[in-house]
């Protein structure tokens, strides 16, 4: 049963020519403590094709979380356009953006953000509850795919950090997303777990036909991507390398 679900994911074929994500003139600013505003994101143009996997190198303070939150529709831009799967975010009200996120986007957080009161299986089920609806078989298959078949009913606190990361990856894929956003997904892992988790995330996205946009400051992580961009090249508001330390 689980294999059937999993094979179904792998059949989603992508074409690099079809843009899944298109961004134009995206600006997000926050009020600054000194008065006035502080622009965090200023992206003139960015795009991602279906099933494409891109690594973004972003230092601390480069606005990478804000950038991903804007794409996910969690934050609303001050101006600019984000089009995902043919739907312009700016044309959508909040409920529609929630719906788009629930059905089209998977999100992996640096701190995993698993619900502590929910088991592994329930966390993954939650990832699909607000979109396609709970599918226990598929959730189980996802957890098996990331090697946690014996941990279905364990709570996050009963898992190692690496295992929690894998649950988060399974949850991000639970709603059969077209786009997976990953914000420093290996930031809390040791190098060995980091490599293994990233391999799993990339493989799972590939099998799922989902595009992957991963931001990290960790060069060994980014080295595993064929397609890597520096965030400060995309985001004009990002600090240039060395600025943060200065």
């Amino acid at each position: 049963m689980e294999n059937r679900h999993w094979r179904g994911l792998g059949k989603r074929v992508s074409s690099p020519a079809v843009p899944l994500l298109e961004i134009a003139n995206l600006i997000k600013a926050y009020p600054s403590p000194e008065g006035g505003t502080h622009t965090v994101v200023d992206v003139p143009s960015f795009s991602l094709a279906e099933a494409q996997q891109v690594g973004l190198r972003g230092e601390s303070g480069s606005g990478k979380t804000t950038f991903l939150n804007l794409i996910a529709g969690i934050l609303k831009p001050d101006s600019g356009h984000i089009v995902i799967d043919g739907k312009a975010m700016s044309d959508l009200g909040e409920p529609a953006r929630d719906r788009l996120r629930a059905t089209t986007i998977g999100y992996i957080f640096q701190t995993f953000n698993l619900l502590q009161g929910f088991t592994c299986l329930e966390n993954v089920l939650l990832g699909m509850s607000f979109g396609p609806g709970a599918d226990r078989g598929f959730a189980t298959a996802l957890l098996k795919r990331v090697g946690l078949e014996s941990r279905l009913n364990h709570y996050p606190r009963q898992l190692s950090t690496g295992q929690q990361q894998r649950v988060a990856a399974a949850r991000a894929l639970a709603n059969r997303p077209k786009l997976v956003l990953a914000d420093e997904p290996t930031g809390n892992l040791d190098p060995r777990n980091s490599r293994e988790s990233l391999r799993l995330i990339r493989e799972a996205c590939r099998e799922n036909g989902a595009a992957l946009l991963l931001v990290s400051h960790d060069q060994p992580v980014l080295d595993q991507f064929e397609d890597v961009h520096a965030l400060h090249d995309i985001n004009r508001a990002a600090l240039q390398p060395g600025e943060a330390e200065a």
Binding site: G117, E122, G127, S129, D183
Partner: protein, 400 residues
């Protein structure tokens, strides 16, 4: 994972506060239902207890005291009337039946009531007459025999063939033992009326008990009267209460008891107010417990929102959770009600012989639980609004 499952998870996560809040609400629901049921059932029951008679004739004094003494076997008698007064009203053409009563003695706190055997042939509730349990019989006039009410027999452990010495007065005093020895010849089947708490003996026995004033040997404490037509009661009321000044004619019995409830109506109001106050505090505790946990929940809410949950969904989840706590409280509240009401009914029966039915349907059992669930859910609106306004990005720490 349905909304219901999410709510269930949250309830489990906050088990202690859920349990404490539900219990406080249960107490409120239990109290609300008890107050209403006791109030209405006791009013209905006490004003319907007439022992099958329309009126009571007794010494000049309070009608209420007369009824409490002759019908409920509570209170002291307001005084005696002469045997001739009893004979006089008995011969009145408007009177179908007149039964004399004499009180003044007890056996271990249960009062002895002297009467005539025709009381036992009279329907005490319009249809049923007093029945003696198998192996027993009604006493015979002129003999030192007793028939014991079912409750008194159980509490005193009396059975047919047992002998006992009555004690003087209505309150048990070991020093006041009469020399007379009575034998139990019958135990009555339960009637669920004050008669169950009484030991019945022949009226001459009580009148002539050793140590009683010989001058009062033919006096009676009260006369129970069954009229041929209720309208005759007004005529007798006129005759005894307005024109006469020696006796009191308490008619109709139910109306006299209603006056009692009118007098203690303020007490009902106080009880109601206390019950409402407890309910209000319980509802407030739902609001406080969920609201106080909102800070720790905000991260979970932000995660759910990041996974695509709408604001309306998290709002509904919190309201549903409040409603669920209230529903749980209501369920436990029925158990509380059963416990409180059974105790109250037992105490009332013990003190008055009047039987309240804890498990008979009453409309408060619908409106109180539904009202509490609705108010509970309403209390959830405040924390739900806080959940609704949760800023997702701010609570998805850390930001890099």
């Amino acid at each position: 994972m349905t909304l219901f499952r999410i709510v269930l998870k949250s309830l489990r996560q906050h088990l202690l506060s859920t349990a404490v809040t539900a219990l406080s609400l249960a107490l409120a629901v239990g109290l609300l239902m008890t107050v209403w049921v006791v109030k209405e059932q006791s009013h209905a029951t006490f004003t319907n207890v007439t022992a099958g008679f329309d009126a009571v004739l007794g010494a000049r004094g309070s009608k209420l005291q007369l009824v409490l003494n002759a019908i409920f076997h509570l209170e002291a008698s307001p005084g005696n009337i002469r045997w001739s007064d009893y004979q006089f009203i008995k011969k009145n053409r408007a009177v179908q039946l007149a039964v004399p009563l004499a009180v003044g003695d007890n056996y271990r706190g249960y009062r002895l009531v002297g009467t005539e055997t025709n009381l036992f042939n009279h329907a005490y509730d319009g249809a049923r007459t007093y029945q003696v349990r198998p192996g027993g019989r009604i006493f015979e006039d002129g003999y030192k025999e007793a028939v014991v009410g079912s409750f008194a027999a159980r509490r005193l452990g009396l059975k047919v063939g047992d002998k006992f010495n009555p004690y003087h007065g209505l309150i048990f005093d070991e020093e006041a033992r009469h020399a007379d020895v009575y034998v139990v010849v019958g135990v009555l089947e339960p009637t669920n009326t004050p008669a169950d708490r009484v030991i019945w003996i022949p009226i001459q026995g009580l009148q002539t008990m050793a140590g009683h004033d010989p001058k009062a040997a033919t006096d009676v404490s009260a006369v129970l009267i069954k009229l041929r037509a209720p309208t005759a009661g007004f005529m007798l009321d006129q005759m005894y209460n307005k024109q006469g000044d020696k006796m009191t004619f308490a008619f109709p019995i139910g109306a006299v008891m209603s006056q009692l409830f009118d007098k203690i109506g303020w007490f009902d109001k106080v009880l109601e107010a206390v019950a409402y106050l407890v309910a209000l505090v319980a509802i407030g505790s739902i609001l406080a417990s969920i609201y106080n946990s909102m800070n720790e929940r905000r991260r979970d809410i932000a995660i759910m929102r990041a996974l695509g949950a709408r604001r309306a969904t998290v709002f509904s989840a919190v309201v549903l959770e409040a409603g669920a706590i209230a529903s749980l409280g209501v369920l436990i509240g029925f158990a509380f009600y059963a416990a409180i009401m059974s105790t109250a009914a037992s105490v009332i029966r013990q003190q008055t012989g009047v039987v309240l039915e804890p498990f008979v349907w009453h409309r408060v059992m619908l409106w109180a639980p539904l009202g509490m669930i609705a108010l509970g859910a309403l209390a959830g609106v405040v924390p739900a609004f806080k959940a609704y306004r949760t800023h997702v990005a701010e609570h998805l720490a850390p930001v890099s």
